[in-house]
C-alpha cells in the first residue's frame, strides 16, 4: 500500500513537518482510507502543485514555508501565494497531529498545562468541541500556546488562516507589528489543529461535524506529538535574552 510519502519534493525549502510514513488506512475507522486518499492525495496535493506553480515566478522563491506564510499574509491582505502556502502547512501539521490509537490522556507536562489553563481535561475537551462547532463555514480549530502569556488557548480560524501569521488571534494584530524590527518569535505556537473543511469529514460523517470532532479528540489526536511540540516551544521560550559573561 502506498504510504504517506512527502508530497513536497518540489518545494525549495521543504518544511520540517513531513508526515510520518503512515498507511492511508491507519486512521480507520475514524477517518476512512478513502477520505485520507482524497484529502492527502488530491486536496493537499493540489495546494502543493498550485504553490509550486506560483513559486516558479514569485518573489517568495527560496523562503521557508513558515516565512512565506507570515510574509504573504501581508497584515491581513493576503497575497496570492498565501492561501496555498498556508493550506500546505496546515495539512502537514494536521496529519502529524494524529496517530493510530491516539486520544486518551496527554502526558504529564501537557496535562498540567491544560489543567492550569482550562481547569480540567474535560473542560478542555468540551471547549475544543464547542469551538469547532461554532466555526461558521470552512476552517480549522487549534490548540495554541500563547507565548507571551505562557497559556494554552483554543481558537478557530476561517478557511486557510494560520496562527503562524497572527499575533494575537483575538485582535488579529500581525505579530510583525508587535516586534518592530527585532526578530519576532512566533506569538501563537500551534500545538494541534483539526481540519473543519467539509472535505475532511463529509464522506465519513456527512453533516455530523460533532461526531467527527469528538472522534478526533477521543481517538486520533497524538498527545505524543503535542508533547514534542511543547518541548520545542519551551526550549525557544527559555532561551530568552543571551546571557553574555562579562570579560
Amino acid at each position: 500500500m502506498a504510504a504517506f510519502a512527502s508530497a513536497l519534493r518540489v518545494l525549495p525549502s521543504p518544511p520540517a513537518a513531513v508526515p510520518r510514513r503512515l498507511r492511508s488506512d491507519a486512521l480507520e475507522p475514524y477517518i476512512s482510507k478513502r477520505t485520507v486518499e482524497l484529502h492527502w492525495g488530491k486536496h493537499q496535493q493540489d495546494y502543493v502543485d498550485s504553490l509550486n506553480k506560483q513559486l516558479a515566478t514569485s518573489m517568495f522563491y527560496g523562503y521557508t514555508l513558515e516565512e512565506l506564510i507570515k510574509e504573504a499574509y501581508n497584515n491581513g491582505n493576503p497575497l496570492p501565494e498565501y492561501n496555498n502556502a498556508a493550506q500546505v502547512w496546515n495539512h502537514h501539521f494536521f496529519w502529524e497531529s494524529m496517530q493510530p490509537e491516539g486520544g486518551g490522556s496527554p502526558g504529564q507536562g501537557v496535562l498540567q498545562q491544560i489543567e492550569k489553563d482550562f481547569g480540567s481535561f474535560t473542560n478542555f475537551r468540551e471547549e475544543f468541541i464547542r469551538s469547532a462547532l461554532s466555526l461558521l463555514g470552512s476552517g480549522w480549530v487549534w490548540l495554541v500556546l500563547k507565548r507571551k502569556e505562557r497559556k494554552f488557548s483554543v481558537v478557530h480560524t476561517q478557511n486557510a488562516i494560520s496562527p503562524l501569521a497572527l499575533g494575537d488571534i483575538n485582535t488579529s494584530i500581525p505579530s510583525i507589528n508587535l516586534c518592530d524590527d527585532i526578530p519576532c518569535p512566533l506569538l501563537l505556537q500551534p500545538l494541534i489543529n483539526l481540519d473543519l473543511w467539509e472535505h475532511a469529514y463529509y464522506l465519513d460523517y456527512k453533516d455530523d461535524r460533532r461526531m467527527y470532532v469528538t472522534n478526533f479528540i477521543d481517538h486520533l489526536v497524538s498527545w505524543d506529538t503535542v508533547t514534542l511540540r511543547m518541548m520545542r516551544a519551551e526550549a525557544f521560550v527559555n532561551l530568552g535574552e543571551p546571557n553574555i559573561p562579562v570579560a
Binding site: 482524497l38 488530491k42 486536496h43 493540489d46 492561501n83 461558521l136 463555514g137 470552512s138 476552517g139 476561517q158 478557511n159 486557510a160 473543511w197 467539509e198 472535505h199 463529509y202 464522506l203 456527512k206 453533516d207
Partner: protein, 231 residues
C-alpha cells in the same frame, strides 16, 4: 410562476405552520423548511438524489432550526433591552438566516431536464445577458470560473442591480446572502459551492460540478425574477 409550484407542493411547510403561527402570537415570525418542487432524485445524473436529500433534510433544515432559535433569542433579548445579547446574536442570524434564504433560492434555481432544466434563457433576461456579458456562454464560463476560484465555502450569484438595471456575477462567503453585497442586488441565480453541495458525487473536482449544474438550471425562474424586478 415558480412560487405557485412551490405553494402547491409545500406539505412539509404546511405541517410546520402551526408552530410558526404559535410563534407569531408571541411576536416572532419563524420560518419553515420549504418542500422541493421536484423529487430528490429528479436532478440525476447532474446531482445525485443522496446529495439532494442530505442537503435539504439535514443542511437546510438545520439552518431553519437554528435561525428560528436565534430569532426567539433575539426576541427575548430585545424585550429585555439586553443590547450585548442582541449584538451577539447577529452572526447566528446572518449565518443561519442566510443559509435559509440562499437554499430557498437554490432549490428554485434547479429543475429536472425533463421539465425544462438547462434550457437557456429567452426573452428579456436572454437579451440582458448578451448585453452585459457578451453571450450566454460567456456568462456560464464566468460564473463557473468564479465558483471554482472561491476559497472556502460560499456562493456564486447572477445578480441584477435593480437601480442600474445591470447584471453582474458576485460571490459571497459562507452563507452570506447576496443582500450583504448591496441592497440593490436581486439574486436571479445562486450556485452553492460549499463542499456539501457536491462532495459525495464529485469529491475534490468542483469544476465538474460547476460544469454539470448548468444542465439542470432553471432559467425560466431566473427570467421571471428578472422581469418582476425590472417591471
Amino acid at each position: 410562476m415558480a412560487l405557485r409550484t412551490l405553494a402547491s407542493r409545500k406539505t412539509l411547510a404546511a405541517a410546520a405552520r402551526p408552530l410558526a403561527a404559535a410563534a407569531v402570537a408571541r411576536g416572532v415570525t419563524t420560518v419553515a423548511l420549504p418542500d422541493l418542487p421536484y423529487d430528490y432524485g429528479a436532478l440525476e445524473p447532474a446531482i445525485s438524489g443522496e446529495i439532494m436529500r442530505l442537503h435539504h433534510q439535514k443542511h437546510h433544515a438545520t439552518y431553519v432550526a437554528n435561525y428560528n432559535k436565534a430569532l426567539e433569542q433575539l426576541d427575548a433579548a430585545v424585550a429585555k433591552g439586553d443590547a450585548p445579547a442582541v449584538v451577539h446574536l447577529q452572526s447566528a442570524i446572518k449565518f443561519n438566516g442566510g443559509g435559509h434564504v440562499n437554499h430557498s433560492i437554490f432549490w428554485n434555481n434547479l429543475k429536472p431536464i425533463s421539465e425544462g432544466g438547462g434550457e437557456p434563457p429567452h426573452a428579456k433576461l436572454g437579451w440582458a445577458i448578451d448585453e452585459d456579458f457578451g453571450s450566454f456562454e460567456a456568462l456560464v464560463k464566468k460564473m463557473s470560473a468564479e465558483g471554482a476560484a472561491l476559497q472556502g465555502s460560499g456562493w456564486v450569484w447572477l445578480a441584477l442591480d435593480k437601480e442600474a438595471k445591470k447584471l453582474s456575477v458576485e460571490t459571497t462567503a459562507n452563507q452570506d446572502p447576496l443582500v450583504t453585497k448591496g441592497a440593490n442586488l436581486v439574486p436571479l441565480l445562486g450556485i452553492d459551492v460549499w463542499e456539501h453541495a457536491y462532495y459525495l458525487q464529485y469529491k475534490n473536482v468542483r469544476p465538474d460540478y460547476l460544469s454539470n449544474i448548468w444542465k439542470v438550471m432553471n432559467w425560466k425562474y431566473a427570467g421571471e425574477v428578472y422581469e418582476n424586478a425590472t417591471a
